[in-house]
Amino acid sequence: MIRFEDVGKSFGPVTVLDGLNFTVAPGEFVTLIGPSGSGKTTILRLVMTLEQVTSGVITVGGEYLSHMERGGRLVRADEKHQREVRKRIGMVFQQFNLFPNMKVMQNLTEAPVRVLGKSRAEAEERARELLDLVGLNDKVDAHPSQLSGGQQQRVAIARALAMQPDVLLLDEVTSALDPELVAGVLALLKDIARTTDITFLCVTHEMGFARDVSDRVMMFDGGKVIEDAAPDKLFSEPDHERTRSFLQAVLERG
């Protein structure tokens, strides 16, 4: 579903990704772990087209994302091309990024109406179903500022789902939450992962969650994937010393 081929990404003189290769199969839940500043967010932002690759190629669902074909040659994707491919991809952010000027309902219906061309009634019905799913059906008319962090993140998850994405990107979606709200949001995500065939690419420091929900975990460091294994294998008997010390450090931090 997602394929990175020799992807490089630099910010000016700083090289963050260097010849990165990996694939995520349709319906798979893949978690990326790795030290701070190693480029995990950058990978998700590349898939969301919030950043552009410096080199290499990204495909999503068999279509070029970073590039497009023109006259039999592969050229850089223009905005129009990316706009099309982007519709299949959704993202949930660490800081929620709900639209504060809209009520919860409009947050959930604006894009389905404008982008997917749904009728308002259809979009609102779907929004109510999704609010049910995330346990917030009483907050339809609330403004984001009236919600707790956990509630805002649930709305953000519902908003992403309303676009019926094939791929959902999760970037440390519980890091900004008060500790007592984390478990609820993670349980919700686990539920969604189990009951839908959405492909997930997830960055998290919640190792228990990663182990529980992932089909595969990729340990990422120095711009490369250094270990890629089933969660039980990677968490209990990692092949690489670097993975072992990273997991150790995370465990000690709590």
Binding site: M48, L50, R86, F93, N97, P100, M102, V115
Partner: protein, 221 residues
């Protein structure tokens, strides 16, 4: 006739100053403000255009208008433009020149307001595939504009206090009418004092309104 303040004379000139001058001051200020707010927003958006040539031109226009005095622009529009066939009546000239001049200040205010909207809002809009135009009208501007209303209000107050400049192109605002009344009776104390008091009332009510907006915006966030 030599009392310091003559009530009879004051009441004689008051209707003219209020009916003619005050009305003109309000009319020009309101129309020019609307023009400034609309054109200012346009300039701020052009300034952000991806097309370099467009943003350069918008920048040049803003810088040029902001760094020349309002009076020069007023004279230019009034005396020079007719020579090349552009002839407007004085009031229209005044409104357009004031509007354009303050549009450049408004553009800077809008720019700051737009930049104050967190980047995450743009990114969320992209993640939802919202078109650019929709992102502007539904996400960015509804967050940026309420925040800048107080600042725009302050420019309206500045504009209000500059309407006496219109005298130079023959448009009589509060001060213009007052001075004319004064010159007819050779007595200026009353008309000019009245003009000052009227300006005080206008500016003060406008600043109350602006402060009220400031509070509203504070609550909204």
């Amino acid at each position: 006739m030599n009392d310091v303040w003559q009530w009879d004379y004051a009441f004689e000139v008051l209707p003219g100053i209020v009916g003619g001058g005050l009305w003109m001051t309000i009319k020009v200020t309101v129309l020019a403000s609307i023009l400034a707010y609309v054109i200012g927003l346009g300039l701020a958006l052009l300034r952000r255009s991806d097309l370099r040539i467009v943003s350069m031109v918008a920048w040049a226009v803003i810088e040029f208008i902001r760094s020349t005095p309002l009076l020069v622009q007023l004279f230019f529009a009034f005396y020079v433009l007719p020579d090349i066939g552009l002839l407007f009546d004085p009031v229209t000239t005044g409104v357009v020149v004031f509007g354009l001049h303050y549009a450049t200040y408004a553009a800077e205010v809008y720019r700051a307001g737009i930049e104050a909207v967190p980047r995450g809002q743009w990114e969320a809009a992209t993640a939802l595939s919202l078109p650019r135009s929709r992102t502007w009208t539904k996400v960015i501007l509804p967050q940026a504009i309420p925040r800048v209303l107080p600042a725009l209000g302050n420019y309206t107050i500045s504009m209000l206090k500059e309407t006496p400049l219109l005298l130079t192109i023959g448009v009589l605002d509060i001060v213009g009418v007052a001075a004319e009344e004064g010159s007819q009776a050779f007595r200026y104390v009353e008309p000019i004092t009245i003009a000052g008091v009227l300006f005080l009332i206008l500016s003060y009510s406008a600043s109350l309104l602006t402060r009220w907006m400031e509070r509203r915006v504070g609550i909204a966030r």
